[in-house]
Point group: C2
Chain length 195, copies 2
């Protein structure tokens, strides 16, 4: 029934990523992965290894697809920290609004939430978060924020990013998500209202 591979490896990985994206790690069964990719079990295991390896490759695939978008949005000159925050969150909003990907990404947010994920996968997720955090901090510093404000804003923007994914998954409208993102861009440069 075969001599050379009858599928595109990169496209299959993209589809597998979308299965994890939609179902998370535990609920992404091998049957769902074979169905989503169109591959048979043998092809899936022969090409990508076992489930946890495939998940890690899906994470890598996600990073190499979307991290450049964040990098591009943050690399240019920005007039203020607020603009940096808004630009970062806009990338997330764009990704959520993308009709070619499943609704509600369970890769970035809930990867750390699924207890079934092994230590190697957890470490990879943490490294991805750390990379985005550094990316944000550099852009904030370049936009004129001091060290303390940079640390705070990077953290809060990451937090907002996570909440956008959660709210999206929970069925909140894109208008609501845009409202949350816009409010996060209003945090910079404000004194504490509490004593």
């Amino acid at each position: 029934m075969a001599g050379r591979k009858q599928f595109d490896v990169d496209e299959a990985l993209r589809r597998a990523m979308h299965v994890f994206w939609r179902w998370g790690y535990s609920e992404a069964s091998i049957d769902r992965l074979t169905e989503g990719t169109g591959l048979g079990r043998s092809s899936l295991y022969g090409t990508f290894g076992d489930k946890s390896t495939l998940f890690r490759k899906s994470l890598q695939r996600y990073a190499q697809t979307y991290h450049p978008l964040y990098d591009q949005a943050l690399s240019g000159p920005h007039p203020s920290p607020s603009v940096v925050v808004a630009a970062y969150l806009q990338v997330t909003l764009n990704r959520i609004a993308d009709p070619t990907v499943p609704d509600g990404c369970l890769l970035t947010v809930s990867a750390t939430q699924f207890p079934a994920l092994d230590a190697e996968g957890q470490a990879m997720v943490r490294a991805m978060i750390c990379g985005l955090r550094t990316m944000l901090e550099q852009a904030l510093l370049a936009a004129g924020a001091d060290d303390q404000e940079t640390a705070e804003l990077a953290l809060c923007t990451l937090a907002t990013n996570k909440s956008l994914a959660v709210l999206s998954r929970a069925g909140f409208s894109s208008e609501d998500l845009a409202t949350v993102a816009a409010a996060a861009a209003r945090i910079p440069g404000r004194p504490h209202p509490l004593p």
Copy 2:
């Protein structure tokens, strides 16, 4: 080996809630539930029904335990919307810091994230979120916010609440969580920094 129940039903439900709290719905296997509650399979099924029913009862148990805390923090008079937001998020921070509950609650945040949860459970989670939202909106109106600001702040505070749970689960420090909560309290009453 028994004639009358050899355990406290309410305490067993509390422990079952903590198992879902720690593991989420899919990863909370019956074995983990029997181990966590100390009950046998027969007692568990005989008392609480099947797994999805037990999860719903755990959700109810969570709501009746923690929603009064939010209600209490919001019911008194507040000088400003900022204080309302801060008071609300402080309840979440306190719950996260509680040493008697597991680290990283997968009940409120990720209940909507787990595809395995049935429609009835999903609806219950949405109803809980809706109740908290209404509670917040009433307190914000009472604190002098107009309709538009109330809607925006209630949404953003809910979003921050979710992100706190996610960041907590991801291993961020309690100082980081407090920073995020404090920054959210700085949103009210600020003009948009972007054109």
